[in-house]
């Protein structure tokens, strides 16, 4: 078992899925930065987060000055790459924690995915979207599913989140 750290966009979408608690079968705990927690307001999302914090499935991650400093630097660096989505502080904190602490970063932020792909010092960071998490749950048979494609479809329907066609086809094929 290992640790993960989640950003706002991931938590908001993931919390809408009926099988959301399966996430905690994959990680010892999932950290939630304080900057991320501040961005959440609606009742259903906050209730799930608070309940998961109480059970220890989620844990609060308090950013230290050095992490915030590196996150600020990362925000600036991503703004230097033309035509590429920049990151903001909450997802930058997750990437920095991922690099420094070896946490898997859970995000639905395209900028964070790009940064981990393009910037040398963040290439070692494992960054997962819901796509990779569901793939792992299916691979480990933590979701009993006759049709993996149906599970991904279920997620798309319940969250309003669409997986990129090529990535989805690839994931289903590998299963």
């Amino acid at each position: 078992m290992s640790f993960a750290i989640a950003d706002t966009c991931f938590l908001i979408d993931w919390s809408s899925w009926r099988r959301r608690n399966l996430l905690f079968r994959l990680f010892t705990t999932v950290f939630v930065p304080e900057t991320v927690l501040r961005e959440v307001e609606s009742e259903d999302v906050v209730e799930w987060i608070a309940g998961s914090l109480a059970s220890g499935n989620l844990s609060l991650f308090t950013e230290t000055p050095d992490i915030l400093g590196e996150a600020r630097h990362l925000v600036e660096r991503t703004r230097l790459i033309p035509r590429v989505r920049g990151v903001d502080i909450p997802e930058a904190v997750c990437l920095v924690a991922g690099r420094r602490r070896g946490y898997t970063v859970l995000t639905e932020n395209r900028g964070a995915l790009m940064a981990a792909s393009l910037l040398e010092e963040y290439r070692g960071v494992k960054v997962w979207r819901a796509l990779e998490i569901i793939y792992e749950l299916l691979r480990r048979r933590l979701i009993p599913a006759e049709s993996p494609a149906a599970v991904f479809k279920e997620y798309e329907k319940e969250t309003g989140h669409i997986f990129p066609k090529g990535d989805l086809e690839n994931a289903v094929r590998r299963l």
Binding site: T8, S42, V45, V84, E108, R110, L118, G160, I162
Partner: protein, 80 residues
């Protein structure tokens, strides 16, 4: 000088961004969008073009999760 690998990856990300933009444009409920108050309408249109939820939510003066609910109402998919 950036490596070929970097350039290839960058080109792929740019292509994915463009594909996602096309899907958001075609799936969106434009009638719903046009009926919204000015700031919200601008924010939804900005999101369709960029996929940048944080800036869009600030434009709409909403939290990210409330704006996310609005995206569902406007049938604008999040594609990641």
């Amino acid at each position: 000088m950036q490596s070929e690998d970097y350039e290839r990856k960058l080109a792929r990300w740019i292509r994915l961004e463009e594909e996602a933009r096309k899907i958001r444009r075609s799936e969106a409920d434009w009638k719903f969008i046009e009926e919204q108050p000015a700031r919200v309408k601008a924010a939804l249109k900005y999101y369709v073009e960029t996929g940048d939820i944080r800036t869009s939510s600030r434009m709409a003066e909403m939290s990210i999760d409330r704006f996310r609910k609005l995206l569902r109402q406007a049938r604008i998919p999040v594609i990641v």
